[in-house]
């Protein structure tokens, strides 16, 4: 078959996007309900804390990215257009352009900023998914992906304000250098992103990136637990989140 379901969706998605674009923008612009903490008593709220100073201390380090991509069979296309990103680095300016000013501390702004899916508390991406292939797992707050269900419509790609989602324009498998047989690859026509290593968590492991970071720049844990690393880190230092004005409530925090 020259064209499969996802290929078809890819083509038709372009058209549908034009029509549905209005709908998803509405979703973004609609007034956000305030973060209701009482509603999730007893549940976990998994979060990641990135210590920018520690991260910047090792220039050119890509340990976390490599570990993640290796574990999750993330393909490497030599082509920015097709690039699949789970965790990646970009300039501070790009990551936090609204809170940037000329005289920010250089140790924060000089190096690239580590970016990944924010696992927002109020994610716009899940709301637009027509098949519920992406949804927020209520018990721990992970924004999940079910690749069995994804039809490649890319509404979520459009809806995510952080560019955290990538679409497989091409068959990824030939572009995976070392395949990890314990983790599925994806196929052409599905969207993918960071899942906070939900499979590793299920096995009692830490996320791959956290484990790989020798500097201890990445902390991971439950925000509802006052004893957790992340809570302690946030208690002690000032932290920022990306684009807080959108009301998406990211669960990735940056210590500055």
């Amino acid at each position: 078959m020259g064209i499969d379901r996802r290929g078809f969706m890819k083509i038709s998605g372009l058209t549908i996007l034009g029509i549905a674009g209005g709908a998803s923008i509405d979703g973004l612009a609609s007034p956000q309900t305030p973060h209701d903490k009482a509603g999730r008593a007893g549940e976990k709220r998994l979060a990641m804390v990135v210590d920018l100073k520690k991260c910047h201390s090792q220039e050119g380090c890509k340990d976390c990215v490599t570990a993640c991509h290796l574990y999750h069979n993330v393909p490497d296309f030599d082509n920015r257009k097709d690039e699949i990103k789970w965790i990646w680095k970009d300039s501070f300016h790009h990551a936090f352009h609204s809170m940037e000013h000329e005289h920010l501390e250089e140790s924060i702004t000089k190096g690239p900023t580590l970016l990944l899916c924010n696992h927002c508390d109020n994610p716009p991406c899940t709301r637009v998914c027509p098949t519920k292939a992406t949804w927020k797992r209520e018990e721990d707050g992970i924004v999940m992906m079910d690749w069995h269900r994804c039809i490649g419509c890319r509404y979520c790609v459009v809806a995510c304000p952080y560019g955290s989602r990538s679409f497989n324009w091409r068959d990824p498998r030939p572009h995976i250098k070392d395949v990890n047989p314990d983790f599925p690859t994806r196929t052409r026509g599905v969207v993918e992103k960071c899942t906070f290593c939900e499979l590793r968590l299920a096995k009692g492991q830490k996320p791959a990136c956290v484990e790989a970071c020798k500097e201890g720049a990445l902390l991971f844990g439950d925000l509802e637990d006052p004893e957790s690393d992340v809570r302690k880190a946030l208690d002690g230092r000032f932290s920022i989140r990306r684009k807080p004005e959108l009301g998406t409530e990211p669960e990735v925090y940056y210590l500055v």
Partner: protein, 128 residues
Amino acid sequence: MHNTGKVIIGLLIFLVIAAFPIWYAVAGGKTGDLPELEKAVKGENCVIDSVEMREIHMALLDEWRDEVVREDDRWYKSMTLDSTIEKSLTRSCLGCHTSKADFCDRCHNYLAVSPYCWDCHVDPKEFK
């Protein structure tokens, strides 16, 4: 008979198409020997009765995949094995039936079934 030529040609086309399976079997020389499957490496029993498994494995896998991905429910209590196993195609199924080629594919090829599991899930043999 009138328009004999055309009618005969039409009938021949019809008969050739209608008898396709017969001459295909004759020409192909294959009458469909039953596929032989690789033996499981561990034990005699599958996670459910093996005859039933043959009929419903696809539905079971479908159920599993939803339970695992969507409900974070990853363990299956097997009555036949009297133990709990992980709901995983690559780790549990292929753990016993170590060769996709000699187990899964045999029947699937025989029946022209092309499951799309393998579009994403990886046959460990292929990469190790």
